[in-house]
Symmetry: C2
Subunit: 218 residues, 2 copies
DNA sequence: TCAATTTTTTAGATTCACCTAAATTATTTT
DNA sequence: AAAATAATTTAGGTGAATCTAAAAAATTGA
């Protein structure tokens, strides 16, 4: 079994690997983990000793197969608990992250799988991210950033890229939520801001916003 | 906030205080925590520095009001999660302890209270132990040991004193469960063993068994 | 290319929660 | 009440996960 800290590092490396295909740098990990580069080097050595990552000095890390499996298991639990909190306990989608960060470390295969069943095998978490199944399989599905849509185009809002409390509360305040249709009414060449329509509301959003919303085109 | 280890010590002291009214000894705590007496002394000092226990060298510990509050909060969470595991996820009562030992340390008042609501404010956990409410209030209710019943007397089985996997599985195997009526058909003076009747079954049980079952007389 | 800068690693400390072995205090027994 | 025994504490050490400061390697750019 892995320590809480090890699991958090594995998860962080997994997430960063999507951006850093050729190896996750020490500094990037330190930034992600809110810690110092020297602490990261220490932990990387431990993970490397356990064959959870492949590491050569000064060359960044990559997850091994075992490391990837462990990371996905933690992510599976995190997302299942998020669904539980929202669907069963009435949490808002901006309140679940912190608690799920704790719940994701509970060690019990039976618990995870029974929870999955209880929730009726959800495919997505409250932020639109895919939930790995018991074998670690999951697919993101084809989605694009809202910012990629041109004037007049539309799609269904299916996920958020940033799931910070601040961003989610901004979306709530402006009536933007997953599953609804978005149409681009106008797009400003100068700053890439958009006027979008969701249900009855017309909302003006900055480029920052449109690059953090995932859309599925119809 | 308290560390995982601190919470476990507080819980252990709370439980032991029922037997050791004049202060919990270092050795008793070491036994309960499956650790060495010297480690216990270390931790007691830390808890004492935080005013969670009252401690004078060589005199055992007692929980302070703050310590009691913290211990009860952990116990509340433990028992609520046990109810969740049995009622919602289909765990058997002998499978819940280990997982609840982990879940009891999750820190989120909202989670605890929403879980309580979701479970419809249960008063007892699957082993018949009372669940403290959000203010830490709970009552054990009047219950006696089955061993205290005399021949011909009867009552409802309302709880187990030992909730080890072994004992619970013994009860399952013999069809003994909470909520059912028990009648003492015979009681052996020599070894205190009993012949009891529960529903249609007549079961011969040792004194060890009858001193670990709580009964409510009618 | 080689000097400056940035990134990463090493060295040495710190805290928590544990350990063993030895010393001290309390309790029992004779 | 002194000696033997038991309980508890102290002293010193360990590993995990962090830190700061300094050294070493890699990268950048003049």
């Amino acid at each position: 079994m892995f320590s809480l800290s090890e699991e958090n590092y594995l998860k962080a490396i997994f997430h960063l690997e999507t951006s850093y295909k050729s190896g996750v740098s020490t500094n990037a990990l330190a930034e992600e983990m809110q810690t110092k580069a020297s602490s990261v080097t220490d932990m990387i050595k431990r993970l490397s000793d356990k064959d959870l990552v492949n590491y050569k000095k000064y060359q960044g890390v990559k997850l091994s197969e075992a490391g990837k499996k462990a990371a996905i298991e933690v992510i599976r639990k995190h997302r299942l608990w998020e669904v539980f909190l929202v669907e069963k306990l009435g949490f808002n989608w901006d309140e679940v992250h912190e608690v799920a960060e704790q719940l994701e470390h509970i060690k019990s295969e039976k618990l995870t799988n029974e929870l999955d069943k209880f929730l009726e095998y959800p495919k997505k978490d409250p932020h639109g991210d895919p939930i790995p199944d018991a074998n670690g399989k999951f697919t993101v599905g084809d989605r694009i950033l809202l910012s990629a849509l041109r004037k007049g185009e539309s799609g269904i809002c299916v996920g958020v890229k940033d799931s910070s409390v601040e961003f989610l509360q901004y979306l709530d305040k402006n009536g933007i939520s997953l599953g609804k249709e978005i149409r681009v009414l106008e797009k400003e060449d100068f700053d890439q801001s958009m006027l979008i329509k969701m249900e009855k509301n017309e909302i003006r959003i900055s480029h920052q916003i449109s690059t953090n919303l995932f859309i599925k085109t119809l």
